[in-house]
Symmetry: C2
Subunit: 381 residues, 2 copies
């Protein structure tokens, strides 16, 4: 693998940051991004059966071996039945349940833990709405580093059990992921552990980019008209957007290619981004009393709010919500129509897609990629 | 994809069988095998990110699209820690939890359901010790065919819940998979459904072959000294052995390559193959009162008994057992040493490996591949 060389800059104010021990921007508090020279089309990809296939776009030192458990290279499954049910021309499900610990979170943790290990941190800590905690437990074990996870007591039990089965220390808390986040910050300060909280360090989103690279490659190095991402903390959405920008910078996509329309799907019981986008705000206000059984969407105050709203503005995006009943209904339809063991987040995405086509906000002629971010099994307590 | 052309012959007496509506050998009742002309080294493999990469070795008609959910191309993760703990020189875990419905069963069902669909069966039925039922539910949904699953009431609940979430009809029964098997035969006769019971049709084992192809390719087209497979019905073990024979016939492996030693790992509470092998029998007698929490190993009377014992004899193999306590202990070690969410079947395999090295039956100089056939999450009820 020939890895990329990178610098860190603020995603909002472009202030440069040191690579070592980086967290958020020291000037404005917004997330840092890794920046690379464009990777020219034709640069050889790595001959691996995992997300590190895209090593030329990834933050990896020369000679460094990533902490990997076989994340990524997930299937993209076309479903004419779901295209018909949602009213679009073509529809693919990108099935992220086929990752280690059965969710897309594996990708980000592989990248972040690789950097944490290289920087010599003594341990890893994360607040989680669910799947991120299980993923960090796995990659911490793979790296030989202790892991502490702060999770709401209401997190689905199969996910909490996985965190413990992989040897991590699990702290069940009252409250939501925002409350868990404060405890993680305090614990990191006290212990010196790396705080792997969403967008509070710059590397999880680098791992998330690989979904964008794969989507483009699986379509034959072209883009869909729209993609639907069930959005809690936002790292998946932001990662894909960053990947597509990097592919365009390197000339990997056809002349004149542009970003797809990003459809941000949230639960009606926790929709800070959809609410802020509807109000034409450039940042979100915290959602009081977040409630949804799709625990990955129970993120009332994401640090990525400004980035998400920017992605929506720049791509003529759509942000909308699904009720708990609609989430259940579309999760069942996703599972029985395709054979994918769908997570409720995937059902939420389909519901929002259906409503957008019905309302005429999205064209019935669209080709759409819908992300199923996790496994239904994780939610059947 | 350029698929292979095949015939069916009995694995025991070599009697030819019709391809249409095939079950077991009409002459002797033993499993049928698909037979192909050798696939010469250098034959292009399919450019896919799933097990159908090995289409030139697979039963697929020209122009046919397999029923696929992204099965296979699972990681092989080297673990120096587990090599040290078990006492061998090098050790890799082939992590089959990263398949649709989180087990190796997906591979066989992809192949078998592809053939069932092509033959126009109205539905699919299977008896299961657990994971096969979930896998068939997924591939039935993918093929648009109704599925009926007969499963012991004692099957772990997460697996039963997955079967139902994917829209299959689940019949919980008293007794073990042998009892479920009788009900499946009766139901198939009555309904005309395809009975996808292990080795009672010739195609599941064809899907299982892909583990052998992948293992060889992931090692750089060479073989380990030994492989350890946690063995219930035996289709994984038999499929890998068949794959290696086909690779050798086509010249894909180095001059003089021979089959690895096959280590069959069973639970002390259900070990018909280990018992028969120790007694130098060429067939197994049914195990009375099978008991183990590793439900995939709770197969008291596998139809593949003679084939398994032949594999053991021909490869100077090893068959041994692990206690429930040893299974639990090694499952925990597997998970915490690697970050893989290990199934108890994987723990059983490690325990048997450790004991074989300790006893001197397997050389401490060996390079070994250990199969983790499923996910720990499926067993945490």
């Amino acid at each position: 693998m020939t890895p990329a060389s990178w610098t860190l800059r603020c995603s909002a104010c472009d202030t440069a940051a040191e690579r070592d021990r980086a967290s958020v921007c020291g000037a404005c508090g917004q997330p840092l991004f890794a920046r690379y020279a464009p990777v020219p089309k034709g640069t050889p990809l790595a001959d691996r059966w995992d997300a590190w296939r895209y090593a030329p776009f990834m933050p990896l030192e020369v000679g460094e071996v990533p902490v990997s458990l076989g994340e990524g290279l997930t299937p993209m499954i076309e479903s004419p039945a779901l295209a018909a049910a949602t009213g679009v021309r073509r529809l693919w499900i990108k099935d992220e349940s086929q990752n280690p610990t059965v969710s897309f979170k594996a990708r980000g943790m592989s990248a972040a833990v690789t950097r944490a290990k290289a920087q010599g941190y003594p341990g890893l800590v994360v607040p989680t709405a669910g799947n991120a905690g299980a993923a960090l437990a796995a990659y911490g074990a793979a790296a030989g580093l202790p892991v502490r996870v702060f999770a709401p007591r209401t997190t689905p039990r199969p996910i909490l059990d996985t965190i413990e089965a992989l040897g991590a220390t699990l702290v069940r808390i009252e409250g939501h992921i925002g409350d868990a986040g404060k405890l993680a910050i305090a614990y990191a300060a006290e212990s010196g552990y790396f705080n792997v909280s969403t967008l509070r360090e710059p590397y999880r989103v680098e791992g998330m980019k690989t979904m964008g690279f794969e989507m483009a490659e699986q379509l034959g190095w072209r883009l869909p008209d729209a993609l639907v991402y069930p959005t809690g903390g936002g790292e998946g959405t932001i990662g894909i957007w960053k990947a597509i920008n990097e592919l365009m910078a390197g000339g990997w996509l056809p002349e004149g290619a542009k970003q797809p329309r990003y459809v941000v799907a949230q639960a009606a019981g926790c929709a800070p981004i959809a609410r802020a986008f509807a109000a034409h705000e450039d940042r979100a206000t915290p959602w009081v009393d977040p409630v949804t059984y799709a625990s990955g969407l129970r993120v009332p105050s994401p640090l990525g709010d400004r980035l998400l709203l920017r992605v929506l503005r720049e791509t003529n995006g759509i942000a909308d919500t699904a009720s708990e009943e609609a989430i259940r209904d579309w999760t069942l339809r996703l599972a029985t129509a395709t054979g994918i063991d769908a997570a409720p987040e995937g059902g939420c995405a389909l519901s929002v897609l259906h409503d957008a086509v019905t309302a005429g906000t999205l064209s019935a002629d669209a080709e759409v990629v819908v992300f199923n971010t996790g496994s239904g099994a994780s939610y059947r307590a």
